[in-house]
């Protein structure tokens, strides 16, 4: 029997993987990928809570998270392409323009 705890444990693992990606990678494209993993983990968590409490609110929130993720990708990728045209690099360290 699969309970809510099973799902939350898997969501925790998924979130940890995404956070490892965000902290470890220096490539901005990889940071975007890790953000997608984080959003997906949150979605699964919301859907699981929604099922085990028989409430549709979780699914609604997950639906809006998907909308936010889609627009985040559109804007973020546009900015990323602009940055790549300007500096020729999508490394996180190239964003550092203050010398100190």
């Amino acid at each position: 029997m699969i309970t809510l705890t099973h799902y939350l444990v898997v969501v925790g693992f998924m979130f940890a993987i995404g956070l490892v990606g965000i902290l470890r990678r220096k490539n901005l494209l990889m940071l975007f990928f890790s953000t997608e993993i984080l959003l997906n983990a949150a979605n699964v968590g919301f859907a699981a809570v929604s099922k085990f409490y028989m409430d549709l609110t979780g699914q609604m929130v997950a639906f809006f998270i998907i909308a936010v993720a889609a627009s985040e990708v559109a804007v973020g990728l546009g900015l990323l392409v602009l940055w790549y045209k300007r500096t020729g690099s999508i490394d996180l360290d190239s964003l550092q323009i203050m010398k100190g």
Partner: protein, 182 residues
């Protein structure tokens, strides 16, 4: 039994796919495994009786978002391996796992403490899509419209940022103008 097998299968395969995404040195491999992981995430949604969310996950994530990434990656050189200077691996892993655990526990803590009442209970008679539409177009109409406006704004900004004068750089020319002004 069937549900347990499906759950363990999907969790193992999504966690594996996402690990490949995070740890791979090749951007193309990372993107492919992310797309695969997205498809298997929708399996979770079908298991959780959220059919509409599962279909939206496949269409939006595996379709739209991954296609956007694919088009975006045409601008970058992806044949090379990603060169990164990674420092302090052990600290990073400890920090990430601890904070992820903390966030999940903080968010999920009210579930164990209080007795939650369903605000919009699932209708036993109607299907998932039907009850979801009833709730969305009555109680969540304003957030729905706002998210539509947000998607429109994101689409326009994406078009403006990437496609205006593809041959010349907007930011560079603006910077040159700025320097002339100074």
């Amino acid at each position: 039994m069937y549900e347990a097998v499906a759950f363990y299968f999907f969790s193992a395969i999504t966690l594996g796919m996402f690990s490949v995404t995070v740890l791979s040195r090749n951007a193309l491999y990372a993107m492919s495994s992310l797309a695969g992981g997205m498809v298997f995430i929708s399996g979770f949604f079908f298991l959780l009786d959220a059919e509409f969310l599962g279909v939206v996950q496949i269409i939006v994530y595996s379709g739209a978002v991954m296609a956007l990434y694919t088009f975006g990656m045409m601008f970058f050189d992806t044949t090379r391996d990603v060169q990164e200077r990674i420092t302090g691996k052990k600290t990073i892993y400890t920090l990430a796992i601890l904070s992820a655990l903390l966030i999940v526990i903080i968010v999920a803590a009210p579930l164990w403490g209080a007795h939650l009442e369903a605000i919009y209970p699932m209708g036993a008679a109607s299907s998932n899509v039907q009850s979801l539409g009833l709730v969305m177009f009555t109680h969540y109409l304003i957030p729905f419209e706002l998210s539509a406006v947000m998607l429109l704004v994101a689409m326009i900004s994406g078009i403006v940022l990437v496609s205006r004068r593809m041959d010349s750089s907007i930011t560079l020319s603006e910077e040159a103008d700025l320097k002339e002004d100074l």
